[in-house]
Symmetry: C2
Subunit: 484 residues, 2 copies
Amino acid sequence: MLQSIEARTGAAVGTSWPESTPAEIDQAVAAAATVADTFAATSAAQRASLLRALALALEADGTALIALADLETGLGLPRLTGELARTTFQLRGFADVLDAGTIHAVLADDAAVAGAPPVGRPRLAKVRVPVGPVAMFSASNFPFAFSVLGGDTAAALAAGCPVVVKGHPAHPALSRQTAALAQRVVAEQSLPAGVFGFVQGAAIAVGVQLVQAPAVAAVAFTGSFKGGTALAKLASERPRPIPFYGELGSVNPLVVLPAAAEKSGAELAATLAGSIALGAGQFCTSPGVILAFKDAASDAFVAAFAQALQATQPHAMLSAAIRSTFDNGVARWRATDSLTPLVADDAAGAAMPRPFLAEVQAADFIANHALHEEVFGSAALVVRVVSVDEAIAVLRSIGGSLTATLWGAETESDATRSLVRAATQIAGRVLFAGVPTGVAVTQAQLHGGPFPASTQPFTTSVGYAAVDRFLRPVALQDAPAWLL
Amino acid sequence: MLQSIEARTGAAVGTSWPESTPAEIDQAVAAAATVADTFAATSAAQRASLLRALALALEADGTALIALADLETGLGLPRLTGELARTTFQLRGFADVLDAGTIHAVLADDAAVAGAPPVGRPRLAKVRVPVGPVAMFSASNFPFAFSVLGGDTAAALAAGCPVVVKGHPAHPALSRQTAALAQRVVAEQSLPAGVFGFVQGAAIAVGVQLVQAPAVAAVAFTGSFKGGTALAKLASERPRPIPFYGELGSVNPLVVLPAAAEKSGAELAATLAGSIALGAGQFCTSPGVILAFKDAASDAFVAAFAQALQATQPHAMLSAAIRSTFDNGVARWRATDSLTPLVADDAAGAAMPRPFLAEVQAADFIANHALHEEVFGSAALVVRVVSVDEAIAVLRSIGGSLTATLWGAETESDATRSLVRAATQIAGRVLFAGVPTGVAVTQAQLHGGPFPASTQPFTTSVGYAAVDRFLRPVALQDAPAWLL
């Protein structure tokens, strides 16, 4: 059964309702499969109209949806108002991409060349075709932007793929209400209902059935490492494997080079503490590993950073399950001998979590694999390094990450070049200023990165290139005029 | 032990030599890893120079290499001369791509916008970075174009990734000689030896070690379904999974619409027979399933096609193992009750194989999964259909294929549109004229397609977009001027 829970109190709100049954999930996938060819054949203008109508409907119901989201997630009205604005911006942004014509464009068109190969060739034109029904798994931590009508859904619909959305059980009433809104808009746009399907359930079986459904052509997932890797395995073990676009978490290392600590250490310390405390650290791009050197300016930076983090306000977490995982992660760090706590109030029994920060030497960090795993929430490690080479070794030990941030790399040198190369080798986005929380929706955005940040590191789940995940290139050889 | 075998006689030539040891494989990977950053930092001009020097060296040694290839594969001098020309064309083509600057280009550059998100944003520029060492598995059936200095190697080197090539044991002396040539050219170009590594071995363990080596960042593979799926599984089960670009075979359905049979059936029958007989059908794009309708013109087409195939010259196969697999596949088809043989000379004991062709009704074909599997060699099935809808059902039952060919789709209609949509859903390349054998090396080429044609259906292993497999996009946020 599904039950709406008030995040701040843990109290049940309203009556519970049943999960989607296997038969209902089958029906949702079958409906998507039935309309896949029709929807693939819609014009860019029709799909742009759908996306804009969805944005408008979200805005029309905005006040009620935001209130419900706040009740179920505790994320607060300012954050949720901003997130809804981001979600409608994103829907309209994909509509603009459709208007620009790039989705249906001929990507490359090589004229025929007379004569024998290899110089002689037929005409070849590369186009892209929608892959078919996409199963979309909503995230807990973004009830709008990575949920029912979030970026994955917007990208799949823009590409011409029907979606079957699995709502996240941490905000079930909001998910249901948003899905009803989407289904109403699809009907108003005179599109078949199969274009937008919706299922709900907390049981693992719901997701397993979606990933294994033969008619599902691709999966988009934002969530935990454990759930994501299990579903990715199922996707690859199908008789006909399908792409599994999973975003599974990230530690987001941030390197504070001595030049930055020297120049503006106090200001950066406050910025960083704010980024880690924001929304109780429940962002996939929250910085979890801070690399600091050992000079006087770096020492001062670390002290200021710890002080600023200590002073941040507590914030409820999304659900009791997420809070419990956070508490367990912090307890594991507390029990690690090589860590020296810097911010470590005990809040295990309190309603709100407290941030946790500890310091560790580079060699100890590198040697302890458990420290390379994300603790989802306001928890971070300061890793002390003595050289750029040691910083590179720390980055390499972390492996894949959504982001890596380098503060103080404004001046070119061999050392800086090596550090940038190492950062680009492990991350999908490399920042040279600011903090990684806040992911702009643009064409150049890359929200992905080597495993485990993404199971498909060449793709992005944020920004307009997200449509590329659902459009497979096909070369048309000697295509008739009516087709191109 | 490795032994050069004369393909036409099965006789051993020269002395045998040992497979690469685990220590040697480790050394090759370690050498590639050591130079990965240096090679990634080379200029486009340096890598273009390397590729052109490799092409020139292949031409300089061409006569000897072609003779050795002919001895080990039996493919014949005209075909091998053409294949070497294709290989050098391809190397120079990637050099031209490097000259054009697209590999190091900024793919998207979004200027900063002042203000609050979602409109406000930092500057984001998307670039691409070489993934690191690539393990490359050579194919048996293209001793030049898909082997040591074939398309995968050219693409990886163009991208700035060192390669560790595994030579194919079916042409071991040619592989060793080509690798020696490559290593000499790398040295002459003043590049570190680790840029091009080479290992050899017929044992499965050699490939397993390469795929599991922690420093290997991606795998390119052309070969069998069985070997490819086993290695792909290992790649996905690594602690840090890596992309496995596998091309695993394809049945390449070809639809002869009544209009085409009516207009030029006799000519098409001869063309098709030639495509299937070419090189004993040892092409991954050889047509294996021919869909024909049931009108008089289609009956005449099938009769002419069978007659033309019957009349083709026999041709030695690449190796005793490949011949044995072909004989087993044909024997399986002979024993299938629903098949009516059309061309079925018994050549099980003869030195050269004979082509095999049988006819089957659409419903029987769809119901029998074993018939959807490729029989590598000159063997094909004629599937009789009564309607475009039935043709679509046959295409869907086949699933993924490198190519699908539609003859007679020159006129637009709902039926033709549906057929084209079905073809693009299952294939990486859709042809409207000609035969799928012969894969042009161009920008628009797509040699891939849904599983099992490719394990990464969004990518291509032929044509200049093949570099995209080894260049991972990264978003640079607020990058300093020196970096862009």
